[in-house]
């Protein structure tokens, strides 16, 4: 397979950021109330991820190793600000639905994680493809979670009514529903045995301390390995 296409496959399926790597849980839980929100959030993150991967990959020989994290944060924060202003101007309904979670894309583990694990070691072309793959993988997972919650919790799919509201289980569009649906996703993944790749990733460069979860997971994996 062509290595550019391989990047897309990798992001969408093999290393899907939400379903396999469990990165970026905050936005996944928070905005998955409706499938449309999932698409909006997913595409905003994808846009930031593609641009940040591109810029960081271009600057990979310029940024000194010691200050790379602050430099990445500045780059990502600038791109997020641009995206936020664009969404506010052209898609006010999306802006209203996502609210504070748009600026919080800055601290999304996926973005810094990809910068650390991929973009700072590869050419801009590959980094962009990696961004597209990862971003779309995130978008699909978010939309899926949104669809399930919207369907069970409100009886609609993409805002189209499927069954009367009286039969809907309201808890699924409330905060607890987010935890339940994501737990269910992971249980399904575990049951059909997809999770096995995670250990391999952890031992490679998948998590260079992008967030607490990744770090803890690394430690746990190493402990397990030691046993």
């Amino acid at each position: 397979m062509n290595k550019y296409l391989e990047r897309l496959y990798n992001g969408l399926i093999k290393e899907n950021p939400t379903l396999i790597l469990m990165l970026g849980m905050c936005p996944t839980l928070a905005v998955s109330v409706r499938a449309m929100n999932g698409i909006g959030m997913g595409l905003s993150t994808t846009a930031v991820l593609i641009l940040s991967n591109f810029v960081i990959s271009l600057l990979r020989k310029v940024i000194p190793n010691e200050v790379r994290l602050p430099a990445y944060i500045v780059i990502v924060a600038s791109l997020v600000t641009v995206t936020e202003l664009l969404i506010e101007a052209y898609l006010p309904s999306v802006y209203k639905a996502l609210g504070i979670y748009i600026p919080l894309i800055v601290v999304n583990c996926i973005i810094l994680g990809r910068a650390e694990a991929y973009a700072n070691k590869n050419t801009p072309g590959l980094a962009v493809m990696d961004g597209i793959g990862m971003g779309l993988g995130f978008t699909i997972a978010l939309t899926l979670a949104g669809l399930v919650r919207e369907f069970v919790g409100a009886g609609t799919a993409f805002d189209l009514r499927i069954f009367p509201k009286e039969y809907a289980v309201g808890i699924f569009i409330q905060p607890p529903g987010a935890f339940l649906v994501i737990a269910l996703f992971i249980i399904i993944m575990n049951a059909i045995g997809i999770k096995t790749r995670q250990r391999e990733l952890v031992n490679n460069d998948g998590c260079n301390g992008c967030c607490a979860t990744c770090m803890t997971r690394c430690e746990n994996a190493k402990e397990d390995e030691a046993k």
Binding site: I186, N190, C211
Partner: protein, 192 residues
């Protein structure tokens, strides 16, 4: 006075930052393995979040707003929080080694904790003044600590249970969080 108390209670219980707004999930799920570690992280978060809310509020009122630089708030806040965590870490290391020892390794984790940035941005959005921002930051951090310590307690019980294989690990923690979240929904009756 009443509104100040309400801001704190609302931050800690009604709009619990983890269980209701889903901020800081990473550390909520990652660090809640041990009770002691969760309590230390909670302490560090209370410390940093209160100071970060204060500094962010001052910066916003006296620099960003008068010069019409509203749109810079995300980038300024994240840098301020990152720098602040570094300063707090250095300060504690020098002045209070015992506190540093208890909180030390958790301080760097807080930079990427979206709850800190989230609360700074929410304060601006709600147009809180300085005192309100500090109290909101403190209340939210207390809510975070409460949630993570409770979850750590639950997890120490779960460890003894015989669970089906696919549910072990992350899923059962998420399900516990869902049940906690349902319990915390009861606090919404407190808002008046």
């Amino acid at each position: 006075m009443k509104s100040l108390i309400l801001i704190m209670i609302s931050g800690a219980l009604i709009n619990n930052v983890v269980l209701n707004q889903f901020l800081g999930i990473c550390s909520f799920l990652g660090v809640s393995k041990q009770l002691k570690a969760s309590a230390s992280l909670g302490g560090a978060v209370i410390f940093v979040m209160t100071i970060a809310s204060a500094v962010a509020s001052l910066l916003y009122t006296f620099i960003l707003k008068p010069f019409g630089l509203d749109f810079m708030k995300t980038i300024v806040f994240i840098l301020v929080i990152a720098a602040l965590v570094q300063i707090v870490e250095m300060f504690l290391k020098k002045k209070s080694p015992s506190v540093y020892k208890a909180l030390g390794i958790y301080l760097p984790l807080i930079t990427t904790n979206c709850a800190v940035l989230g609360i700074a941005l929410t304060n601006v959005q709600n147009e809180y003044n300085f005192i309100e921002s500090v109290l909101a930051g403190f209340g939210t951090a207390v809510g975070f600590t409460l949630a993570i310590v409770l979850l750590a307690g639950i997890r120490s019980r779960i460890r003894e249970e015989d669970l089906p294989a696919p549910v072990r690990g992350a899923p059962i923690v998420l399900i516990s969080a869902a049940l906690m979240s349902i319990a915390f929904m009861g606090f919404s009756g407190l808002s008046f």
